[in-house]
């Protein structure tokens, strides 16, 4: 038959309820105070605990939270008795994981919940027990330790949540590890967020490669993903003993990344619960980063072609133009215009025109290097910036682009097959030249390519003269 522990400081109500329970066939062990009752429950877990909300030593809510956190009693249902009309009582009872909170007068309601709980808990029962040497003193100490732990957890949770203000994953990871390495000892800690293309690892200066290898393995990081490594003396350089702990970072039901931690010896015991807190709380900050990234992408790309938009290109140029000028790096710009684009639109419709633009954009992107920047400049114009590329190199690259477009076979949504060509004008940044002037020169060259019969690449004349000058000087010398 079911065994119950009944905790109630008032003798009369205690014996009254016990009689009623025993009459129903339950075996009841009585306790006057919460601490004593909790000790009994740990040493020989009963099928359920019924506790008064107000018991000396520790409140029913505290006892409930404590029993739920102890492995020996985690599955024992706790039913609280007290004033259920008080909202705060109800809130804390629910938060502590109590099966119910019922008024002391409502015994039949209590019995109904008890029956339901015993039925639900039946298949999960185990008889794991825990004996503490010092009785009440030990229980009190454990409750205090448990409260400390709960406080520690909520502080970490709040701290991690506050990282939502970090708008790049790198900054987020840096701040996160700065904080975490102060409160927990670990060998390395790694976060992988595939959608953000982010893989961060915080490790000791010694053994960074081994840490990265281990983190890649347990997190399933793709080979092409480059790591963001933070070296730090605050991490431990223990030899690995336990396997890394891996958990999925969730936001609601959506996985947003994974976190792994290789525990140090001193941090081993608490590592699992520590990682759980992180996995639970890191979802929000990571999600914010995803949204920021998405917003940034939407604000900087052309929705049709996926190329950068005009604004993003201007931003890039404003940053890279002066840098190229300062360090004397070559920087070339090319403007591409699809030939007879208006006729495509008029003859085959705008869908066909869109198909042409999409596939021309893809061809340009495929031909150029990753470091080259490609943007949709206007209607059928594509602007390219080619860093570290001189006049000759730019002309070669542009001619490859021209040839790739000429070779294209654009298939429209209606299944029509079209071929197109493009005209390109190239200009290379001259000393002291403004970015706007450079683009204007590329634009001029492009128009000359059009006038010259289309489907060709023309370099701006100023560049040709500049290129001729050294040989002229050489000739004079």
């Amino acid at each position: 038959m079911h065994r119950l522990i009944l905790i109630d400081p008032v003798a009369s109500s205690r014996t009254q309820l016990a009689k009623r329970l025993e009459a129903l066939g339950y075996t009841v062990t009585l306790a006057e105070d919460g601490i004593g009752g909790a000790g009994l429950a740990l040493a020989d877990p009963p099928d359920a605990v019924i506790a008064d909300l107000w018991t000396p030593g520790a409140s029913g809510v505290q006892i409930c939270r404590f029993l739920r956190s102890e492995p020996a009693t985690a599955r024992v249902p706790v039913l609280l008795r007290g004033d259920e009309t008080d909202r705060r009582n109800r809130f804390w009872a629910r938060r502590a994981g109590a099966a119910t909170l019922v008024g002391k007068g409502r015994v039949s309601e209590l019995l109904r919940v008890l029956e339901r709980e015993l039925e639900a808990a039946a298949p999960e029962r185990d008889d794991f027990f825990m004996q503490l040497p010092g009785g009440a003193t030990d229980v009190r100490e454990r409750i205090a330790r448990h409260l400390d732990m709960a406080l520690f957890e909520s502080v970490i949770a709040a701290e991690v949540r506050s990282l939502s203000s970090c708008d790049t994953p790198q900054r987020l990871f840096d701040r996160l590890t700065q904080f975490l390495s102060q409160v927990h000892s670990y060998r390395w800690l790694a976060v992988y967020a595939p959608e953000l293309s982010f893989f961060g690892i915080h490790h000791h200066p010694e053994g960074g490669d081994a840490a990265e290898e281990g983190a890649r393995r347990v997190l399933g990081v793709t080979e092409t993903q480059s790591p963001f490594r933070l070296e730090d003396d605050d991490t431990s350089d223990d030899l690995p003993r336990a396997e890394p702990i891996v958990q999925t970072v969730m936001l609601g039901r959506t996985p947003v990344g994974r976190i792994a931690l290789s525990p140090s010896r001193s941090g081993e015991a608490a590592a699992e619960s520590f990682v759980s807190i992180l996995a639970r709380e890191l979802g929000g900050p990571l999600r914010v980063n995803l949204l920021v990234e998405e917003t940034r992408r939407l604000a900087s790309t052309d929705p049709l072609t996926g190329l950068l938009n005009r604004r993003a290109f201007a931003q890039w140029m404003a940053q890279e133009g002066p840098r190229a000028a300062r360090y004397g790096h070559d920087l070339s710009v090319a403007l591409l215009d699809v030939d007879h684009f208006k006729q495509v639109n008029d003859k085959y419709g705008h869908d066909a025109g869109d198909a042409v633009l999409i596939q021309v954009a893809r061809a340009v992107r495929d031909v150029l290097r990753d470091a080259d920047v490609v943007a949709r400049w206007g209607g059928e114009e594509i602007l390219m910036a080619l860093p570290h590329t001189d006049r000759v190199g730019a002309q070669i690259a542009c001619d490859r682009v021209r040839a790739a477009i000429e070779a294209l076979e654009v298939v429209t949504t209606e299944g029509l097959s079209l071929s197109v060509t493009a005209s390109l004008g190239v200009a290379t940044l001259a000393r002291g030249e403004a970015i706007e002037a450079l683009i204007t020169r590329a634009d001029g060259a492009m128009y000359r390519a059009k006038r010259g019969g289309r489907n060709r690449v023309i370099a701006d004349e100023l560049d040709a003269q500049a290129a001729a000058e050294p040989s002229l000087l050489q000739g004079l010398a």
Binding site: D44, S69, E70, P71, A72, D126, D127, F128, F129, M130, Q131, L132, P133, D138, R142, H146, M149, A269, A270, E272, S273
Partner: protein, 123 residues
């Protein structure tokens, strides 16, 4: 029939205390100084029907012992941890690995006997 309890602890003092307490109540006690020795003895002595095991030991610790026992024919023999440790996290791991209970040191002879009676079903 005499049923044996094995005490696994690297402290000879603890082993003797356990032996004294359980012998007085009629149990046979077998000693092992670490997890590896315990594993060997457990397989060699079918009489062992309960194991009381420390956590921190050289060569093979108590949790590793628990994990290893599971893969042997003796996997049904109940194991109770007997240790100074008491962190909930460790207790949870031991429970997950199949431990049947946890006695926190220092223990009383009565607690040991009660545990043996409970798990061996004697009265």
């Amino acid at each position: 029939m005499s049923r044996a309890v094995m005490i696994v602890d690297d402290s000879p003092l603890v082993c003797r205390q356990v032996e004294r307490a359980l012998c007085a109540s009629g149990y046979t006690v077998i000693q092992a100084a670490d997890g590896r020795e315990a594993l060997e003895k457990l397989l060699a002595w079918p009489e062992i029907s309960l194991v009381m095991c420390d956590i921190n030991m050289p060569r093979m610790d108590g949790l590793e012992f628990l994990a290893q026992v599971r893969a042997t024919p003796a996997s049904a023999v109940p194991v109770v941890m007997l240790t100074t440790e008491s962190q909930a996290e460790l207790v949870r791991r031991a429970k997950e690995l199949g431990a049947r209970g946890w006695i926190t040191k220092p223990f009383t002879p009565d607690a040991l006997v009660a545990t043996a009676r409970k798990l061996l079903g004697d009265c």
